[in-house]
């Protein structure tokens, strides 16, 4: 075994003993195994013909089993995006034994298997349950899984651990009978730092941590009414600051107002984003404030004791006391320019001295965004055990994260990643593209999305060129459902059907970060070959216009869309 700093490995504990994953208690375990057996019986009855497809379909969807273009697809949940190395190895095994040797990480922070056989699904679910995992999909018009940012509990800029409040919200909402009959499904996202990494402004409710400069109190900026899909809206700011202990009361007020006013007559108009915008944000926010003033606030006060109790579930791993600067790390950067390049894009500052957060790119040039082979998953699990307390995180940008790596270990980590095809130095760059499965797998698609991403990455394969371009996020969806988040790509690409042919629209100026914005369609679309050239025209226009050090989205904000339009359409 290579040298390891893992305290667990050096003692006799399992290597992932400190991974901050949700661990089932006996009650949860029993429930999950019962669900598996129930589903096994239902599959048997379906195969025997004792239940019809109409009866079976909702059951299989609830268990995460969808029918796609070529085969079934199983969608496995990854709560808060956290996996232990044991779980990662199990996913690798499932891919190898029951599927075609790979899994696909999605923008919803879950993993999909693209080829399971119906008869095998109960066995797969059983194997998942053995490692505290499941494919149960929260469905229905309730508050869905609360999502958080992928650097939670590790980032240097973190003010509060968002998982703690995600968990408090989960408990509050499951105890709330009237909130299980909302007009429509409801999604909440929380970022624990002032820098948004959870795209909170495209959620029904979004919370961004904030510190009150005067009092030093910590709380959240609250956004309401965002969403993507066919009618995208950016959330509006409801309050600049709500102290953490008042957050439940404030959300209660929002949910109450929505529950009374949300449209139940039309499924396309029932999301809170429509309510907010049909009524006008000012009026809606006024109602929230009235409701909040009326509420028995004391009843919704968040008890610090509860916060502490939940915090212990997300306990920090036993970080070592390290010097601020690692000499071996600095030396390796000097000696190996390829490693130095990776450290510029794929590392994020850790809150503990001597550590760093490493992003593992699942976007090798020309690869399929988000796909990982079984052997790669096993490599990641091994590296997580050696260098990051046996914990692996899944990001909504379809990458993986090792959140607690000693700077001393970074060079060894990167070398091992690079050997496995996982060391690409492109996090946040033009080839770190989000793409939905599109027509290569999805039965709802108008167009393919993956090969568009691949061809763009190949066009810009030169990493020096990519690094020179700086942060530039391309996001691609194969239809209006927006699974590929095209509305919030710096460059968004939307696939449309034009008389049976694939056609692609370009959106410019979207942003999923702290300065969230929705992109605007720049003009007429492009065909399958033309879209790659068009992206390059946009990029070259940026290069011509940028000021020193300026990234794409800033240049675009400064110049407006006109020069880009001109470059794209005046050529003809």
């Amino acid at each position: 075994m290579p040298d390891t700093h893992s305290p667990a490995l050096r003692s006799n504990q399992p290597a992932d003993a400190h991974a901050a994953v949700y661990r089932y208690d006996e009650f949860d375990k029993t429930f999950i195994f019962e669900r598996v057996e129930q589903f096994r019986a239902q599959v048997e009855r379906r195969i025997k013909g004792e239940i019809t497809e109409e009866e079976f379909k909702p059951i299989r969807l609830m268990n995460g089993l969808y029918l796609q273009l070529h085969a079934y697809m199983l969608r496995v949940a990854v709560p808060y995006g956290m996996l232990s190395s044991t779980q990662v190895r199990r996913l690798a095994r499932i891919a190898r034994v029951y599927d075609k040797g790979y899994g696909h990480f999605t923008t919803r922070q879950n993993i999909q298997f693209n080829w399971p056989k119906l008869e095998d699904v109960p066995a797969i679910l059983h194997e998942l349950a053995e490692v505290d995992m499941h494919a149960i999909q929260t469905s229905g018009n309730c508050i869905r899984n609360v999502t958080t940012d992928q650097f939670c509990g590790a980032a240097a800029d973190e003010l509060v651990d968002p998982r703690v409040y995600a968990e408090i919200l989960r408990q509050w909402s499951t105890l709330h009978p009237e909130f299980t009959y909302l007009p429509r499904k409801f999604k909440i996202a929380i970022t624990g730092s002032p820098n948004d990494r959870a795209a909170v402004q495209v959620h029904d409710i979004g919370l961004i941590a904030k510190k009150d400069e005067v009092t030093g109190r910590v709380g959240f900026t609250v956004y309401v009414g965002g969403g993507q899909g066919r009618t995208p809206y950016l959330a509006v700011k409801a309050r600049d600051f709500v102290p953490v202990e008042e957050i439940i009361g404030y959300l209660e007020a929002i949910l109450r107002v929505y529950n009374q006013l949300g449209r139940r007559d039309n499924i396309y108009k029932a999301r809170i984003k429509i309510t907010v915008n049909e009524m006008g944000p000012a009026k809606f926010l006024g109602l929230i404030e009235e409701e909040y003033a009326r509420l028995p606030r004391q009843k919704f006060h968040v008890d610090p004791a509860i916060v502490d109790a939940i915090q212990t579930h997300f306990a920090a791993p036993p970080w070592a006391d390290l010097p601020a600067v690692s000499e071996s790390f600095e030396a390796a950067k000097q000696a190996d320019p390829a490693f130095a390049r990776w450290t510029r894009t794929n590392l994020t500052a850790h809150k503990t001295q001597g550590y760093a957060i490493a992003t593992i790119s699942l976007k090798p040039i020309g690869g399929i965004p988000g796909d990982a082979e079984s052997s790669q998953l096993e490599t990641v699990a091994d590296l997580a055990d050696l260098y990051s307390f046996g914990e692996v995180r899944v990001t909504h940008e379809q990458n993986l994260v090792l959140a607690h790596v000693r700077q001393d270990d970074l060079y060894a980590l990167w070398q091992a990643l690079d050997k496995a095809g996982l060391g690409t130095a492109n996090a946040g760059l033009i080839s770190d593209i989000i793409a939905c499965p599109g027509l290569d797998y999805c039965a709802l698609a108008n167009t393919r999305a993956i090969p568009v991403a691949q061809r763009i990455a190949e066009r810009f394969a030169d990493l020096d060129r990519q690094h020179d371009l700086g942060e530039l996020k391309i996001k691609i969806s194969g239809c209006i459902n927006a699974c590929g988040h095209h509305h919030v790509g710096h460059i968004g690409i939307l696939g449309v059907d034009k008389k049976g042919e694939e056609f692609f629209q370009i959106l410019l100026g979207g942003d999923a970060g702290t300065n969230a914005a929705l992109g605007e369609i720049v003009g007429p679309g492009f065909d399958y070959d033309g879209i790659i050239d068009a992206v390059e025209v946009v990029v070259n226009t940026f290069v011509k216009l940028r000021q020193p050090g300026e990234i794409f989205i800033k240049t675009l904000a400064r110049t407006g869309h006109a020069p880009f339009k001109e470059a794209l359409y005046a050529r003809a």
């Binding site: 273009l69 070529h70 080829w115 119906l118 027509l439 290569d440």
Partner: protein, 107 residues
């Protein structure tokens, strides 16, 4: 079934219940895995009759998700007119080693 079939020549697609494999109704009411071998039904009556049989197959736990699609007849056999249906007959274009294309060197 996003793409509505409206031509006079149509085939019938489905997915096999047990493994989700894409199949089409062939001649002699047999499900075939190769879209080139899909039977072509000409005119509303023939199409309705084929769909009726296919729906019955759904009840017999053979297939699921039955629907009609527009096709044309070519030298290589039946060819769906819409890209989506053509891809269903091939497999993911980004993984040529997977799906039907991996089994049929001619495809």
């Amino acid at each position: 079934m996003l793409v509505k079939a409206k031509g006079t020549q149509q085939s019938v697609a489905a997915s096999r219940l047990l493994d989700g494999e894409a199949v089409w109704l062939g001649t002699g009411n047999i499900w075939v895995e190769d879209v080139a071998l899909a039977a072509v039904f000409d005119g509303a009556d023939a199409i309705a009759e084929a769909l009726c049989f296919a729906k019955a197959e759904e009840k017999r736990q053979v297939v699921v998700d039955v629907y009609p699609l527009d096709v044309e007849i070519t030298d290589q056999g039946t060819r769906p007119t819409h890209l989506r249906e053509r891809l269903k007959g091939i497999g993911p274009t980004v993984r040529r080693d997977l799906g039907k294309q991996a089994r049929q060197p001619t495809a």
